[in-house]
């Protein structure tokens, strides 16, 4: 049996940019805001952190900065996935040198991979690091999904700890949980599916909404961990519109816009992500107003 990397809510933290560079001062502020809000782990340089448009050097430096600033107060999970196995290995080994607590590795995207390829890709990296790895299944972005058999195979590796599951495929989740038990943990990769996933046994969420409401996601996941699914469901439904609205355009465009509207001043997205369509921006503002997050 393995121990889950974390239980509760981990924020998939945005990377603040200013004048084309990572704004470290702002990132430190965001991290402290998360810890004070009850976030159990910071996930740095994931998709929400725009890792796709960060240079290798920037990526490694940002992970290192985050770990140093967190300084053991909560866990740090470094996004180190790539569709190039060697690049994923290099990022993972650098994150290990920086003393990350765990790695989050998205499935190879665009070039995709066969199920055998997925097993080889993850095993290659897992054999060469001494850190727990969280797999990231998000077929809507990557065009590839794990099967239960592949999960079962990967769960045998001592360094493969679990999955950030964002496929919305509950049959896959249920059959994998039934097959793998305490050898492969699950976290929801979608804010709007936390309670149903946790009711099946997921340990929490890697969350976008937590960027603006860390306390909400901590409370929601804690309720589920305590078995209080009625309370969890109440929060899930109460905030569902906000959770959905933050995906009105491709993430992290709306969440960064929301943070800027709320005065958090996290800067722009890097191209090809751009500013919001004006009609969507108005919808986002209306939702934020409805939840009392802006005037």
């Amino acid at each position: 049996m393995k121990t889950p990397v974390f239980t509760g809510s981990s924020v998939a933290i945005v990377t603040p940019f200013r004048d084309g560079r990572v704004d470290y001062e702002k990132l430190a502020e965001l991290i402290d805001f998360q810890i004070a809000g009850g976030t159990a782990a910071i996930t740095i340089c994931g998709t929400t952190g725009e890792c796709s448009t960060m240079s290798m050097e920037e990526h490694i430096e940002t992970v290192d900065f985050c770990i140093k600033h967190v300084a053991g107060r909560v866990k740090v999970i470094a996004g180190t996935g790539s569709n190039d196995t060697m690049a994923a290995l290099e990022l993972s080994q650098e994150a290990e040198k920086s003393k990350a607590d765990a790695l989050l590795m998205v499935t190879p995207y665009y070039n995709k991979a066969t199920q055998r390829g997925l097993i080889k890709h993850y095993t290659y990296v897992a054999d060469r690091v001494n850190l727990p790895i969280i797999l990231y299944n998000v077929p809507s972005r990557t065009g590839v999904s794990f099967t239960t058999d592949t999960y079962r195979e990967l769960a045998k590796h001592p360094n493969i700890n679990g999955v950030k599951e964002a496929s919305g495929n509950f049959a896959l989740l249920a059959s994998t949980l039934a097959a793998c038990g305490d050898e492969l943990y699950f976290w929801s990769g979608n804010d709007n599916e936390v309670v149903p996933m946790m009711s099946l046994g997921a340990k929490g969420v890697i969350s976008v909404v937590a960027n603006i409401l860390p306390g909400l996601m901590a409370e929601l996941t804690q309720a589920c961990l305590d078995g209080n699914f009625a309370k969890g469901a109440e929060l899930q439904l109460k905030y569902l519109e906000l959770m959905d609205r933050l995906f009105i355009e491709v993430n992290p465009i709306p969440v960064k816009a929301a943070m800027n509207l709320m005065g958090m001043d996290v800067g722009e997205c890097r191209l090809p992500l751009c500013d919001m369509d004006p009609a969507n921006y108005e919808k986002l503002k209306a939702t934020l107003r409805k939840y009392g997050l802006i005037q």
Partner: protein
């Protein structure tokens, strides 16, 4: 480094659970024996803590099925199967003192979280960064006990583990004269959480039994000297303390006022804090924080919830250093009471004792 077989006596209480939890992934220490009261003896550890496991991480897999022994009845058996024990038993003070001595006399070193032996003159009371040299007194303690391996080593009270480290790098250089401290202490210090102590919600209780005396006196032993086979407590500085229970789960904060023979400049104090390194940092012990004393320039730091886990709860956070109108300086500091202040401090002390050859 060899792997040490360790036991935890008093393993089912909150501090005992912290020890078990901290040791789950320890590079040197491997938990092989767990003991508690006769009520828990004979059950597996998982059964014994069922319904009262208070740690955030689940019960470590490697200890779940260990059958709990009786801390009092199975001393010999436990002493034979471990290299040393951590003690976190919850009994009357005299009973703890006798029990810990019984383990030591069975040639089993005892690293204790309890107060029972804090004032035994040849028992070192150690904050590893502050007074590691006190462990030399173990030699004379062994002579008194008639042991070759066995001894008792204790940690100081949790309340002083923020302000004493902060004052330590200033004490000799500037001649620390007197200290006034008010502590704001978490409910886990009483082994409680908000479920088991609902009276603490939206409340402050201005009394913690025995805490003020410990907060005023224990620093003098920690700053004492090994002389003639015992620790001779320091004669100064003068301490006065008020200890107050506040509604937070973990983390003791302290508001400190201090005067010196030679008043140090504020930037010099900050420089001393920044450069301070203790023996654990020199030895690179597994549980040692890289930077023991962290100073925050932000006005609203340190905060309990934000900063108590700094460096896995083993670092001290300091902030708000200013000149005072009556004392020379004032500042605020924070430490995690069940990590640095209890189990974590105990594990670090055990690492020091192993690295310095007192536990083989």
């Amino acid at each position: 480094m060899k792997k040490y077989a360790v036991g935890v006596i008093g393993a089912t209480g909150m501090v005992g659970q912290r020890f078990v939890s901290l040791l789950a992934k320890h590079p040197w220490f491997n938990v092989v024996s767990l003991a508690a009261s006769t009520r828990s003896a004979g059950k597996t550890y998982e059964e014994a803590v069922a319904g009262r496991w208070m740690m955030a991480d689940p019960i470590p897999e490697n200890v779940k099925n260990i059958v709990v022994k009786s801390a009092e009845a199975d001393i010999k058996t436990i002493a034979d199967e471990v290299d040393f024990v951590f003690s976190a038993v919850d009994m009357k003070k005299e009973e703890i003192a006798a029990l810990e001595e019984a383990y030591a006399k069975c040639e089993c070193p005892v690293v204790s979280n309890n107060s029972a032996h804090r004032w035994t003159p040849d028992v070192p009371m150690v904050i590893p960064e502050v007074n590691p040299e006190h462990i030399a007194v173990i030699e004379s303690q062994r002579k008194r006990l008639g042991t070759k391996r066995g001894f008792i080593s204790v940690k100081s009270n949790c309340s002083l583990q923020s302000y004493l480290p902060a004052l330590h790098p200033l004490k000799d250089e500037f001649g620390l004269q007197k200290v006034l401290v008010a502590t704001y202490q978490a409910i886990s210090g009483a082994g409680k959480n908000f479920d088991s102590w609902p009276e603490m919600i939206d409340n402050v209780i201005p009394y913690i039994d025995g805490e003020e005396e410990k907060s005023e006196k224990e620093p003098l032993k920690v700053w004492g000297k090994v002389e003639g086979g015992v620790i001779k407590p320091a004669a100064s500085p003068l301490f006065t303390a008020q200890c107050i229970r506040v509604p937070v789960t973990d983390g003791h904060m302290a508001a400190v006022f201090a005067s010196f023979d030679k008043k140090p400049a504020l930037d010099v104090i900050k420089a001393r804090w920044a450069s301070f390194k203790g023996r654990p940092q020199e030895l690179n012990l597994p549980s040692a924080p890289k930077q023991f004393l962290h100073y925050f320039e932000e006005e609203k730091r340190p905060q309990t919830k934000l900063d108590r886990m700094l460096e896995n709860g083993m670092a001290i956070s300091i902030g708000r250093l200013r000149e005072d109108t009556q004392y020379d300086i004032k500042f605020v500091c924070l430490s995690h009471n069940t990590l640095r202040g209890a189990a974590g401090g105990g594990v670090l002390m055990a690492e020091l004792l192993c690295a310095e050859g007192y536990i083989d």
